[in-house]
């Protein structure tokens, strides 16, 4: 039974991987970016768990910048995805411009919180 379970798991994984490979490259780039942001956040959380949350605002600004940028990237992915019927009329460049602008505002706020 263990063998079949592991085999099922492997089959599931392979199926997911092949399905994922079909996604367009630009979406894959965005996914990669999200993974990057999330991993950075995780490392910061682990660090905080180890040494305590003394300068709490620095921890918060670090984690929230990662999470925020991840969220914005997800929004970008939704808007750029051609299969998404809702955003059919929205040009991907416009979505990208929004992404850039929101990121800049987010990082300004984060920087201010980090400093003060």
């Amino acid at each position: 039974m263990a063998r079949s379970t592991s085999k099922d798991a492997q089959d599931l994984f392979r199926a997911l991987w092949s399905a994922y490979s079909a996604t367009p490259t630009n979406l894959k780039i965005i996914d990669l970016y999200v993974m990057y942001a999330v991993f950075t956040a995780l490392i910061q959380v682990v660090y905080m768990a180890m040494v305590g949350s003394f300068p709490f605002n620095s921890f918060l600004s670090g984690v929230l910048s990662c999470v925020g940028t991840a969220v914005l990237a997800v929004c970008l992915r939704i808007q750029v995805n051609k299969e998404n019927k809702e955003f059919k009329d929205l040009a991907p460049e416009r979505a990208f411009a929004d992404f850039v602008l929101c990121n800049l505002v987010l990082h300004l706020v984060i920087m201010n919180f980090l400093v003060g």
Binding site: I29, L32, T40, A91, R94, L104, M111, L114
Partner: protein, 698 residues
């Protein structure tokens, strides 16, 4: 049982103090006439800086005081002041400076050319004609008067004296005060100035001023004196009600201004001004009551006013003073009284009568009545040679009266009627028949009894237990043989551990006695057995031999303190001077800083944070990221480059913000960069959008 005699003695004592306070109300310490202390104060307050005084006004005040008080060691400021006087004696100087320059010249008599006076006099006469304010009139008329004294050949008479008189009088008010200008603010100080100016006009008039006008001014003076203020001891003074306004003057300045004005006016008018003598005497008392003022201007006002009071045409005050108010029966002192004028000169021939003297405890019966004091030519004192036998130790009030030998003197001098003076009569109080005893119980059978000579130094040694009583008695007798109750009669028992207990010794007539029942005192003594030192204090203001004498020791045996009610010993009185010593040092407890992780750990994690970035870049490469869509033609390429540069610039700005910038500069720069970015971004992205749309449609 012991509390009752103590309470009643306390009540009696407080009643005595109340009676004493009431009787002493109208008898106060008399201020004496001007003395050498005023002379030394004058030298101190009017010390010239670098050989001269700060202003002509101050120079005049100093010179006038030195003149009045006949100060011998006065500084010689002729050399420095005369040049200042000369440079101010020109037509163009302001009126006030000219006035004081002339005043100084009047005392110093610097060498001044006669033409200068003529020049100034003509200018002043013109000013008097045109002057609108009281101050200008005062200074110009005053200056003309001074020129009249200093240069007899110069014509200073006023052509239209009546008109000037009228214009000054027009500024007066119905309550006797004067206004400075047409504006309604009036003051008593201005009244003084106006009266002095009016006196000047009368002197400078070429023809006689109408007598009815002069009488109107006399009425104004009487009305002014209606608003005089007074203290209960017969001191009269003037004060300004209006605070602020034209340079508020205190009571000393205002009163001296009025004194100057009134006496200047009285000196130049014939006939009497009906001011009551006691008001004039009250003014003298006010100035003498100041004592030695600390301010130069106050000293000047005081001395000048007293000089005017010393010899005036209305009423000359005579001051009665006593060199000492404490008389010792044991020294057989003599009661001495002085009568002087305010500046300390000799009084006219008179006799001082002691109308009556009474004790403060028995106000109705007089111990002395109607005695005349003998005048001693050599010392200038009036002396009561011997106090009658009735006068015992205590506090008395002596009532004096001055009777002038010259019957008409009453009109010229103000003596002040009956004067109440408090006198302390002290003497040696005899302490005798001192007895200490330890009694056994309520029946009072004596266990030990010792007599004590309180005048000597011998001490007793006793022992007692808590079932016994302690009795101490003595007698106090005044020099005249009466009973005496001192302010303080205390018995103190002090334990070896420094705990002390004080008891008041009550009396019945001459005999003072205290009984301590130890049974009732066990708790008060905190159950402390052992050796107690006994001390007796007897004291009073009129007792010359007040004493604090250790009497001996008492070995007291008290029962043990019950453990259930362990006595809480109160803290002993700490030496009160230790509170002025240095205090314990305070070490500030700083907030412990938070624990920070070791530096290496932080650096490790910093590098770990960069790992996902590397992973991202590697992933990008594996995905086959390329820059194929980068525009090749010039304009879009520039925009593309500028777009990326713009984003990079914003990120660099954020790094700078983190490092050193503040929010406002960052926001400003971000706004600028943002606008730029929006512009280029819009261009490149719209370019990309159109190219991809073209591809799609194609």
């Amino acid at each position: 049982m012991l509390l009752l005699p103590r309470m009643s003695s306390k009540l009696a004592r407080s009643l005595l103090l109340l009676l004493f306070a009431f009787s002493i109300c109208d008898a106060v310490a008399l201020p004496g006439p001007i003395s050498d202390r005023h002379r030394s104060a004058a030298l101190e307050l009017f010390a010239p800086q670098h050989g001269s005084f700060a202003s002509l006004e101050e120079s005049y005040e100093a010179l006038r005081i030195f003149e009045i008080l006949a100060v011998r060691e006065k500084p010689d400021v002729r050399a420095t002041t005369c040049p200042k006087v000369l440079e101010n004696l020109v037509s163009s100087t302001p009126l006030k400076d000219l006035f004081y320059a002339l005043k100084v010249n009047g005392i110093l008599k610097c060498k001044v050319n006669g033409d200068i006076f003529k020049d100034i006099a003509s200018r002043l006469k013109a000013t008097v004609k045109d002057a609108k304010t009281l101050i200008d009139l005062y200074y110009s008329i005053g200056s003309l008067l001074l020129i009249k004294d200093q240069a007899s050949d110069v014509d200073v008479l006023l052509a239209d004296a009546d008109g000037t008189f009228h214009s000054i009088k027009a500024l007066s008010q119905s309550d006797g005060k004067w206004r400075y200008t047409d504006k309604p603010e009036s003051s008593t100080y201005a009244a003084g100035l106006a009266l002095e100016a009016l006196a000047g006009v009368i002197t400078l008039a070429s023809s006689e001023i109408d007598q009815s006008r002069v009488n109107l001014v006399k009425n104004d003076i009487l009305k002014l004196f209606d608003s005089i203020e007074k203290y209960d001891d017969g001191t009269f003074y003037f004060d300004e009600k209006l605070v602020g306004g034209h340079e508020h003057q205190g009571s000393i300045s205002t009163t001296s201004s009025v004194v100057r004005g009134v006496f200047a006016f009285a000196a130049v008018t014939s006939g009497k001004i009906n001011l009551p003598g006691d008001k004039i005497l009250g003014l003298a008392k006010f100035f003498l009551g100041i004592g030695i003022p600390g301010d130069a201007k106050d000293l000047f006002n005081q001395i000048e006013s007293l000089a005017l009071l010393e010899s005036n045409r209305i009423s000359i005050p005579l001051i009665l003073s006593l060199p000492a108010s404490v008389y010792s029966l044991s020294n057989k002192d003599q009661l001495k009284v002085r009568v002087n004028t305010v500046l300390g000169s000799a009084a006219p021939p008179l006799t001082v009568k002691l109308v009556r003297a009474f004790s403060t405890v028995a106000k109705d019966s007089a111990v002395i009545q109607n005695k005349d004091l003998k005048y001693d030519q050599n010392s200038g004192h009036h002396v009561l040679d011997v106090l009658p036998d009735k006068v015992d130790v205590g506090i008395y009030v002596f009532v004096f009266e001055m009777v002038l030998h010259d019957a008409d003197g009453e009109k010229v001098y103000a003596t002040g009627g009956q004067i109440h003076v408090p006198i302390y009569v002290t003497g040696i109080v005899k302490v005798s028949n001192a007895e200490i005893a330890v009694l056994d119980n309520d029946l009072g059978s004596i266990e030990t009894q010792k007599t004590l000579d309180l005048a000597g130094n011998d001490i007793v040694s006793l022992s007692a237990n808590h079932l016994q009583k302690f009795r101490f008695s003595f007698q106090l007798t005044t020099p005249r043989g009466h009973a005496f109750k001192p302010h303080q009669a205390f018995l103190k028992l002090k334990h070896e551990t420094k705990y002390e207990h004080i008891f008041v010794v009550g009396n019945a007539g001459k005999k003072f006695e205290i009984v301590l029942d130890f049974l009732g005192l066990v708790e008060k003594f905190y159950y402390l057995s052992g050796r107690y030192d006994i001390e007796l204090t007897v004291g009073d203001a009129v007792m010359e031999n007040s004493f604090l004498r250790p009497l001996g020791h008492l070995e007291l045996d008290l029962p043990e303190a019950p453990t259930s009610k362990a006595p809480r010993l109160p803290p002993l009185a700490v030496d009160p001077y230790t509170r002025y010593g240095p205090k314990a040092e305070i070490t500030h407890l700083f907030r412990t800083p938070e624990k920070r992780p070791p530096t290496q750990l932080s650096l490790i994690f910093l590098s770990l944070t960069l790992l996902p970035l590397i992973g991202f870049l590697v992933g990008l490469l594996r995905l086959g990221v390329n820059l194929r869509n980068f525009p090749s033609s010039a304009a879009p390429a520039t925009y593309a480059i500028l777009f990326h540069l713009g984003i990079a610039a914003v990120l660099v700005l954020y790094v700078l913000f983190w490092l050193k910038l503040d929010l406002f500069t960052t926001l400003k720069t971000t706004a600028l960069l943002g606008v730029f970015l929006l512009f280029v971004g819009h261009r490149i992205l719209s370019h990309l959008a159109t190219t991809s749309a073209k591809l799609k449609s194609a």
